[in-house]
Amino acid sequence: MLIIHYYCGTIQISQKEINLEKLQRIASTGIPEGGNLRATVWKLILGYLPPSRDLWEKELSENRKKYAKLKEELLLTPSELARMKEEAFQSNEHNNAHSDTAGPLIRHEISHEDHPLSLGKASVWHQYFEHTEIAEQIDRDLQRTHPEMKFFSGESSFGRKHRESMRNVLLLFSKLNPAIRYVQGMNEVLAPLYYVFSTDTDEKNASNAEADSFSCFVLLLSDSVDHFCQQLDNSSVGILSTLSRLSDLLKANDEELWRHLEFTSKVKPQYYGFRWITLLLTQEFNLQSILRIWDSLISSPFGIQEMLLRVCCAMLLCVKSRLLSGDFAANLKLLQHYPEINIEHLLQVAQDLTPDTSYYRMSS
């Protein structure tokens, strides 16, 4: 079965014009490991790669250049920026003459923003130091990302390079999204993307994993980035609204369980679902399971967020008997440390759920 599946997937993406709908259907049943199928399929379905194969090289090259430029503009230290600017101006002659003469060194007056201790808001130095705090938090979180995997952890130059790449992506994201900046957990959401793209068997793709995962990270979060914004918690786009939709979905599919959770054991969705949803389940399963779940999330015709709600609901249904016999403490503990489970079964349950009618009301 797996071989046929792999074959179908490879045929789909080797077409000149890829049929995204067909691809999504195949992908939702799980993308096989090996080669660069998953990396390519994710990039296609997220919209990073266009469906026309002929345009791939151009798109990739342009996007990767854009990323490099962004890094240059936003991630260089003010020191490096100043050095680059000066190297562009100075001629070699000027340099040599300058360095041979003995005597007092020439002083140049500079503005109030052009020095490291500047407190001016517009000063590149001031902004740089504001971001070092964020960078430090990112570094701390990256140290804790998948610590059991050599790919991410460990002091080898290998692990270090990966953490550095992920740091660049997250730091850049924080600078481009000042309303949200960096929120703990974004490192976990980035990890599967970066991992899949770095392990692409195509060398060129693997070496551009940083640029590609930045773009796909943005695409992946485009519908749900508001979940990270505390100010929006109570709004219609915030996490609490999404959590109440999870509640509605559960009620529509299993009123008994819903009643038990809401009223009997009083385990409200925000106690367990906050992390499930904002972090797209990356904290609830091991990496391999996450990859399989994300195959379904990304390729779902319902859209990532809808499918995510379904999977969350399915997670509840799959441990129904334990939940029904549990009280507040036991249920909370169970849901905050979700047990190992057959992922295919989980996804099937998610697929088979009754649609949440409130969603359709909202979407029209």
Binding site: T77, P78, S79, E80, A82, R83, E86, N95, S99, T101, A102, G103, P104, L105, I106, R107, H108, E109, I110, S111, H112, D114, H115, P116, L117, S118, L119, F129, T132
Partner: protein, 189 residues
């Protein structure tokens, strides 16, 4: 990018009560990686204050320092540069560039940071660069009462150093910039 604060000759409390407020507001922790202090703090409180700015503190003894255990001179390596510190009251004639150049050669350093004259100087000679950050409080010196408070912040970036000179003139902070490079083949000692 390594930021190094070069500061000294504060003479607190004998000749000045504290750093100028406009300097103090700029000197915050978290930005500076090393502090080089030429000496004449003179009391422990100043030492402790510097420690809050940056844990990596290097001080040499000025003739009025309370703590007589500071070394007469010190050397350290930061990135591609070897730096030397010496207060300068020991180097006679005081402030004489040739005598300082000799000290620099003896210490075998690219940059010599020295004080005592309470006058900012940045000077290049065959053996390297001499930097005097002046007096951070504008304390009077053995030479003159007319002293503008000043200190120096160096940005060591590869083979290049950008020296930012902070001076308080007529109540306003004025910042100048000095650039110099070390050639890769230099200091054949």
């Amino acid at each position: 990018m390594v930021l190094v604060l070069a500061i000294g000759d504060l003479h607190i409390p004998h000749r000045a009560p504290d750093l100028p407020p406009k300097f103090k507001s700029m000197l915050v922790p978290g930005k500076i990686q090393h502090i080089i202090c030429t000496g004449n703090l003179c009391i422990k409180e100043v030492h402790d204050y510097f420690k809050t700015l940056c844990p990596d503190l290097h001080i040499t003894r000025g003739e009025y320092d309370e703590d007589s255990h500071y070394p007469e001179n010190k050397t350290l390596t930061i990135g591609q540069f070897k730096l030397g510190i010496c207060h300068g009251h020991q180097v006679i004639p005081w402030g004489d560039l040739d005598s300082l150049a000799m000290v620099q050669r003896q210490l075998d350093v690219d940059i010599l940071v020295t004080g005592h004259t309470h006058q900012f100087k940045a000077y290049k000679h065959e053996g390297g660069v001499v930097i005097n950050p002046g007096s951070a409080t504008g304390a009077f010196s053995s030479f003159t009462y007319d002293v503008n408070p000043s200190f120096v912040l160096m940005d060591i970036d590869g083979l290049r150093v950008v020296v930012y000179v902070y001076e308080l003139i007529d109540g306003e902070v004025k910042v100048d910039k000095i650039d110099f490079k070390k050639t890769a083949t230099a200091s054949a000692h």
